[in-house]
Amino acid sequence: MTTVSEEMRELGRALSTQFAENFLGSREDRGELTLWVLPPAWRDAARFLRAGGYDHLSDLTAVDYLDREPRFDVMAIVASHQTHDFIRLKTVVADGQPVDSLVPVWIGADWFEREVFDLFGIEFLEHPNLKRILLPKDYQGHPLRKDYPVTGPAGSRFR
């Protein structure tokens, strides 16, 4: 069982004051700390966390809440090699709205963001090589969206 340390709370509070106008909220659940920011502060909040000791981008993905507006959560899990703690940083993105790429902060965000672009259709600004990574180049649609039929659209190939 992980726990949220006082240092993590302190970092979260510092982030909330630093990006006060773009900070949505935070949550502690089952020993995990989640911080929500608005898209304008996405990259700067990531930079802030990295400067605060969270030097490793562990995961970057997205969640589709179909009936919610804005529709998507883009989510990064950052880790600290010093304290072995994790913080989840989230932002909310509407359908068709681009979000800042984290490649300038962590070079390893490259393929994660290509995967999110491939499967969710979320565009990342200033990404060096934003194209499909898993599906064929000529594929139509974004299969991990909740309104995408799991067997593919009618008349897909090899069915």
Binding site: Y148, T151, F158
Partner: protein, 216 residues
């Protein structure tokens, strides 16, 4: 007795027997002799060495190294010492499609892999055979989704389907023995034994056609 030889006026009959004409355009069709020309086939027929060629071919089928998923683990077990596919002359898994006669499609084929699989099949010299190993290769299996080809027979003509998830090495060996029987009886690649049996009942053992209910 002979199902397809260049001399029994077989062109029309041959066309009927192929499961999918689109995979075998008339100009690319062979008699099961690869690039052996009609004249050489006549010589072979004259001396009656045809059946010895088939016998030799049956006992020296070289599979291509083509494992796609967990079925490949069972395929490796099949080639290992415990099950030992070399008892049937098929232990030489070739790393190049140019040197292999048999493609064992072991695992699920994604639509991104489909053109690669077809290219490897096209690179194999005639005559060539395909075993569709396991539920995924045969019909998509549990992966009824946008990413997986729902049956490898949509890409290449399949000779034997193996049920199982994954099939046991014994199941693969049984399939291989069926394929050997097919080769021995001169049934062209891609033709189901059931179809060949209905065309010439003396050609295939009935139990073989009934054990493996092939589509088409």
């Amino acid at each position: 007795m002979e199902l397809v030889t260049p001399d029994n006026g077989g062109e029309k009959e041959q066309r009927m027997l192929y499961s999918s004409d689109s995979f075998f355009p008339p100009q690319g069709r062979t008699s099961g002799f690869g690039f052996v020309t009609t004249n050489l086939s006549k010589v072979i027929d004259y001396f009656g060495v045809d059946k010895y060629i088939r016998l030799a071919r049956k006992h020296s089928v070289w599979p291509a190294l083509f494992g796609l998923a967990c079925c490949a683990i069972e395929m490796m077990a099949t080639s290992g010492s415990r099950f030992d596919i070399s008892r049937f002359g098929a232990e030489v898994f070739r790393a190049s499609p140019r040197q292999s006669d048999l493609m064992i499609v072991a695992g699920r084929v994604s639509i991104k892999m489909a053109p690669v699989l077809r290219q490897i099949y096209d690179q194999m010299p005639d005559p060539k055979w395909v075993i569709s190993m396991g539920a995924c290769a045969s019909c998509g299996g549990v992966f009824n989704n946008y990413a997986i080809v729902q049956g490898v027979d949509k890409i290449v003509p399949v000779d034997v389907y193996v049920a199982g998830c994954p099939p046991t090495p014994e199941a693969l060996l049984t399939a291989f023995n069926m394929l050997q029987e097919k080769i021995e009886h001169g049934i062209p690649p891609g033709v189901s034994p059931a179809v060949a049996h209905s065309a010439d009942p003396s050609l295939v053992r009935l139990n073989m056609a009934s054990v493996a209910p092939y589509p088409g």
